[in-house]
């Protein structure tokens, strides 16, 4: 077994007296796609926030490629290789679609402090951004202002920003939430592609069982902030622990609930 790319050790956060994430220890292997499931309020998104740094942990550590990144800022973690797409669409609403993606490409080129050339003169950045828009099938909307896009296209752009970032660890928080039946496959195919062709490590918060069954190598279950189960999909879904933890309703029942 190779050394894990991402690890959380006793990762904990408390909000007042409430423990939202309770001492979660978990390691993620390179190239593995892990689905994180659990009922609403189980701490899935909070767990994500702790890993990507939006919320500082009360205790415990986050390690990326063996390095402790617990004390680093969000932008430092991003540059170190943790990329995040958000559950609620989180874009630059009054800029164009192309500009949104180009900003990510530019962030990686380190040209952010270049003040005396025009942004448009960097053709290589524009081309890189367009190539990504082509992959998410948004190229024809490139000149549109983001706030005018449909919800589904905004979700696609959210994923496009993450692909442009091309981090070592991809974190998707319900990437297909609110997408139509026609649109969701585009995003799911992209995630499958990341896993199969480029062997990226993916963390995926998802409620839809069919999506999990299709993509996941492994499922971890969070319940009241704690790690309740961890293993291959079939095993976790069938496990007694999970069945009991959810009062005999089974994982499927819980997932349908939310």
């Amino acid at each position: 077994m190779t050394s894990p790319i991402l690890e959380t050790r006793d990762l904990t956060v408390r909000f007042g007296g409430h423990v939202a994430v309770d001492s979660v220890t978990c390691a993620f292997q390179p190239g593995e796609l892990t689905a994180i499931v659990g009922p609403n309020g189980a701490g899935k998104t909070t767990y994500f926030n702790l890993i990507s740094g939006q919320i500082p942990a009360s205790a415990g550590r986050v390690l990326l490629k063996g390095q402790d990144i617990s004390g680093k800022s969000v932008s430092q973690r991003t540059r170190a290789g943790i990329g995040r797409a958000f559950q609620l669409t989180n874009l630059f609403p009054n800029l164009t679609v192309l500009e949104n993606v180009r900003l990510v490409v530019q962030a990686q080129s380190g040209k952010g402090f270049n003040m005396f050339s025009t942004a448009a003169s960097h053709a290589e950045m524009t081309e890189a951004a367009e190539a990504i828009l082509m992959r998410v099938k948004l190229l024809e909307s490139r000149a549109q202002v983001v706030s005018e896009l449909s919800h589904g296209n905004q979700r696609k752009l959210e994923v496009a920003l993450l692909i442009a970032l091309d981090p070592a660890v991809y974190m998707f928080d319900e990437p297909t939430a609110g997408m139509s039946v026609d649109e969701a496959p585009v995003v799911l195919d992209l995630i499958a592609e990341l896993k199969e062709h480029t062997h990226r490590t993916v963390l995926l918060v998802e409620h839809k069982m069919d999506v999990i069954a299709r993509l996941a190598d492994r499922i971890i279950v969070l319940h009241n902030g704690a790690l309740a189960a961890d293993g291959p999909p079939q095993q976790v879904i069938a496990s007694d622990v999970v069945q009991e933890a959810y009062m005999g309703r089974g994982l499927e029942g819980i997932l349908e609930d939310v």
Binding site: S52, Q54, T78, R79, R84, G112, A119
Partner: protein
């Protein structure tokens, strides 16, 4: 070529392009088109305010940062030139040393304020700038030995920029003297600074600022250190404001707290940015021109209007030249109501519709 000068950021509206062209031509040929001490003075003020307002737009319209210290930076540049000219004697060397020193001090002060307050919430930065600006204004009026206090400083600019300097007879009936050169010094200085600011907002750096204004949370999550960009924008904007102040000092040959440091001036700048259109740069041109012209000529216009309606009751009272501030206020309320995105925003929308 023009596209390169404008950094690819064209007006994107025919009406706007025409208006901007007219303003440019009028300012470029002001001494010949509108000969007269007062008109040329108005034109020079417009040039200076375009730069001042554009530099504020960089901060507010692009960076989304509210500052109340912009006149302070403007004043630092102006006082830099005044102090250098007073102590070094008249000459271009004094102007350049003063302008550079003023710009340096302004940028350093901006860096300090930024590093202290931009890490936390944006509102905190606004409060700090208000406090520092008030403190500096008090300091300038108290340190009368150095700054001339409330009276300000009158000083001499280079001989070549004074009315006594003649380099020819007349051209199209305009005396070729140092005052004409001083106007063109201000005009070209302002033009270069404006084009430079336009380049900065259209650079990769400018895009990051826009991204931060739109969504600082996500800007951080795609790897930009937001606080560094905000601080850099604050310093740049302060430096540009100080250079505008230096131009103003060269033109007026006088600096005082009222002309360069007052809170009223700060509010004027805010109004000019909002009227012209935030985050457009060209809005600064439109806003500054409209505002300075209204400030200088509304009174005359109303005096004339009042004279026309002397027989009608009440109207002459309302239109009396003394009420000009009231009407200026009404004009602003109307413009903000009808053009919430500023004149430039409105014109650009019109094209898309």
């Amino acid at each position: 070529m023009i596209k390169l000068l404008l950094s690819g950021d064209t007006p994107r509206s025919t009406v706007l392009a025409v208006i901007l062209g007219v303003i440019l031509v009028c300012l470029a040929l002001a001494p010949f088109l509108f000969p007269g001490v007062r008109t040329v003075d108005t034109a020079a003020r417009i040039c200076v305010f375009i730069v001042l307002v554009a530099s504020y737009d960089l901060l507010l319209g692009y960076g989304g940062i509210v500052s109340f210290a912009h006149t302070m930076f403007f004043g630092i540049g102006a006082y830099g030139v005044a102090l250098a000219s007073t102590h070094m004697g008249r000459g271009f060397d004094a102007v350049f040393v003063g302008a550079l020193a003023g710009t340096g001090v302004a940028a350093a002060l901006a860096l300090l304020i930024g590093l202290f307050s931009l890490r936390v919430r944006a509102i905190f930065f606004a409060m700090i700038t208000l406090a520092v600006a008030s403190a500096v204004a008090v300091l300038v009026s108290q340190l009368s030995g150095l700054t001339g206090g409330e009276d300000g400083l009158t000083f001499q600019t280079p001989r070549a920029l004074g009315p006594a300097f003649k380099f020819g007879d007349e051209l199209f009936g305009v005396k070729l003297n140092g005052k004409l050169l001083a106007y063109y010094f201000v005009f070209f200085g302002a033009l270069i600074l404006f084009l430079l600011l336009l380049r900065i907002v259209n650079s990769p750096f400018g895009r990051v600022l826009q991204a931060i204004r739109e969504n600082d949370f996500r800007a951080e999550a795609i790897g930009y250190r937001v606080v560094y960009y905000r601080v850099a924008a604050t310093c740049l904007s302060a430096g540009a404001a100080a250079l505008a102040g230096a131009l103003y000092a060269v033109w007026l040959r006088y600096v005082g707290p009222d002309t360069t440091l007052s809170m009223e001036l700060m509010i004027d700048i805010l109004l000019m940015v909002v009227i012209g259109g935030m985050g457009t740069m060209y809005g600064a041109v439109i806003g500054a021109t409209l505002f300075v012209v209204a400030q200088n000529y509304l009174q005359n216009l109303m005096g004339a209007a009042s004279g026309l309606v002397t027989d009608v009751p009440i109207l002459p009272e309302l239109l009396s030249a003394d009420r000009w501030l009231l009407w200026l206020g009404v004009l602003f309320i109307l413009s903000v109501y009808f053009f919430p995105t500023g004149v430039v925003g409105r014109l650009r929308q019109g094209r898309q519709a």
